[in-house]
């Protein structure tokens, strides 16, 4: 029975510069324990074409870390990739093999080596060659860029898409306060600020609807348009 992965985006900070995401997956019997593999989070801010810009995420303790801090410079589509990587033990490991069409027919062994806290990818078939052994580099490459192994066949990748709209929500609140300060509670709906706030809220509602439907690219388009609206209107 496969694990049912669940990543939850936690509340954003007041200054909107960062958010937190936590792994809420229920591990353990009948499935594997969480610490049976090393857990790494890779996060990107995607544009409307799905092109990712990878963000700096600190993975401190791959066996125990449940929450990560995410820098959030702008609102929009964020992609969270939880990589679960087998832990190195002595054994036989295999390199990547491609057929004549360039299609991978055998995925290389990708492992987390606990003593050196490094992720390694097999270059050749080997048995019991551990990082640190003589000439171990002949058998293994160190994976420096985790984004290169997202969805790689020999590891487990859980992908979660979500909307971060902290800056726009703050803008909405500011507009409401502006309307109330200028016109008072009874008449603020007549103000330009209120009308603008209402429209910000409307498009945020639309973006959330698209997020709810997993239409991430369209959601990003709404956020980009809304950001432009806030600046120009």
């Amino acid at each position: 029975m496969a694990l049912f992965f669940e990543l939850d985006l936690k509340s954003e900070q007041v200054d909107c510069s960062k958010a937190y995401i936590s792994d809420e997956t229920v591990y353990g019997s009948p499935n594997e324990n969480r610490n049976a593999k090393a857990n790494f989070l890779v996060v990107s801010k995607n544009d409307k074409y799905g092109t990712p810009s990878f963000l700096l995420v600190i993975n401190t303790a791959p066996l125990t870390q449940l929450e990560w801090e995410i820098p959030t410079e702008v609102d929009g589509w964020y992609q969270f990739n939880l990589l679960r990587i087998p832990i190195y033990v002595d054994g036989s490991y295999v390199p990547e093999v491609k057929n004549g069409n360039g299609v991978i027919t055998q995925y290389a062994s990708v492992l987390w080596h606990q003593p050196t806290n490094s992720i390694i990818k097999a270059k050749i078939a080997s048995t019991n060659v551990e990082p640190g052994d003589v000439n171990w580099q002949a058998s293994w490459d160190v994976v420096g860029d985790l984004s290169t192994i997202i969805n790689y066949g020999s590891i487990t990748t859980h992908i979660h898409h979500d909307l971060i709209d902290c800056y726009l929500r703050a803008n909405y609140r500011d507009l409401l306060e502006e309307a109330i300060e200028e016109f008072g509670c009874e008449n603020c709906s007549n103000s330009a600020a209120f009308i603008k706030a209402d429209r910000v809220d409307t498009l945020l509602n639309g973006a959330n609807a698209l997020n709810w439907e997993d239409k991430s690219a369209q959601m990003e388009e709404v956020i980009v348009g809304l950001t432009q609206f806030v600046k120009n209107a």
Partner: protein, 370 residues
């Protein structure tokens, strides 16, 4: 009654808000205060949101997707609101877009004895369903069906079936050392089980094998599938081992199969007229590995021989046709034997047992025991 389709209508209204928001966002530079069409879009979304909010004020959804009416709400008031929503969102039919399965609040279900349907379990955080039989835990897959607003999940039991694999070398598989086998056909036959086969890897000649391996066919509807390559110029004992792995992650999802071509120095046995005759030329070859051998001696007034690579050590017995150990009637000695007529001739130290005297054997079975 529209309220029978409330979930579908609410869901589609929410989708409509997203759809219209996208239209607005794509034309935002013609936006607020600049375009009548854009204004119309803003107002339409605003109306949908307003009515949707009113509907949701009249209905209370619980964690399981069930709903009940708020205080003072009647079928009539709710249906008026839903009618407005249907008009504003241009919903042509309903239920048209049922809620996505993963958006529903899941429940745990338990089942009674096999063949029976058990009562629903308590609300939970996980939609996992367990089916346990005497072969252990198995997966149950679901298909969603919505008819007249009634959502039904149809479960089907689709147990795991392990893949199968065999490896076969064509023709003879035992040769004399020194022979170079020009070409063989190595066939790897796989049968897909329940899961997709991720890889089939050979321990040798894997690059050549991968270049012809058709994973599409391996996972295709026609099973089993055979992929073949031709090892050439084989001159040493070689085991061709294939490892198949499917995507189940189960131990039985990895299957190993192999076939081996073997090369041995021959046992030499038979009869000669002279002690000085070249045993390689005058004796019969028995191409097998070390171990007890049964042979037949036949001849009149001949020296009878049997020999093998000296590295096998001395024999303990040489039984005659009557079951008696006749090894005392044989001289034993070491001599270098040189092969002839092979691709790569060899010279090797052999141990021979040869009768001390010329004697008679009439199709007499003998057994050499180490």
């Amino acid at each position: 009654m529209l309220n029978e389709n409330i979930e579908s209508i609410v869901s589609q209204s929410y989708s409509k808000i997203g759809e219209l928001s996208l239209l607005i966002a794509r034309n935002i530079d013609k936006g607020y205060g600049k375009s009548a069409k854009q204004e119309e879009l803003w107002n339409r979304v605003k109306r949908i949101r307003k009515i949707l909010k009113a509907v949701l004020d009249h209905v209370v959804f619980d964690d399981n997707g069930n709903y009940s009416y708020s205080l003072h709400t009647t079928d009539k008031t709710l249906n008026i609101l839903l009618k407005c929503l249907v008009q504003l969102t241009d919903i042509q039919d309903y239920p048209v877009a049922p809620l996505l399965f993963h958006k529903l609040k899941p429940r745990n279900y338990t089942f009674n004895a096999p063949g029976e349907t058990g009562p629903p379990g308590p609300p939970g955080n996980d939609a996992t369903v367990f089916v346990t039989n005497d072969t252990g835990e198995q997966e149950l897959s679901f298909r969603e069906e919505v008819i007249a607003g009634v959502r039904t999940f149809l479960g089907s039991f689709n147990p795991y079936v392990a893949p199968q694999l065999s490896v076969n070398l064509s023709g003879d598989k035992v040769y004399e050392v020194g022979v170079v086998v020009g070409s063989k056909t190595l066939s790897v036959t796989s049968t897909k089980g329940k899961n997709t086969i991720l890889s089939i890897v050979l321990n040798t000649l894997n690059s050549a094998f991968q270049s012809i391996l058709d994973m599409g066919a391996v996972n295709g509807p026609t099973q089993p599938q055979t992929n073949s390559i031709s090892p050439t110029n084989i001159s040493a004992t070689t085991t061709y081992q294939a490892t198949l792995t499917d995507d189940s992650g189960k131990p039985e999802g990895t299957v190993v199969a192999s076939d081996t071509i073997q090369f041995f120095y021959p046992f030499l046995y038979g009869a000669t007229d002279n002690k000085t005759d070249d045993p390689y030329l005058f004796l019969t070859k028995l191409i097998q590995g070390a171990g007890t051998k049964s042979i037949i001696f036949n001849g009149l007034n001949k020296y009878f021989w049997i020999g093998y690579p000296a590295s096998y050590g001395e024999a303990s017995q040489l039984k005659d046709q009557n079951g008696f150990d006749a090894i005392g009637a044989f001289d034993t000695f070491l001599v270098n034997v040189t092969s002839q007529g092979l691709n790569n001739n060899w010279t090797l130290s052999y141990r021979f047992y040869r009768t001390k005297l010329k004697t008679i054997n009439s199709n007499a079975p003998h057994t050499l025991i180490f």
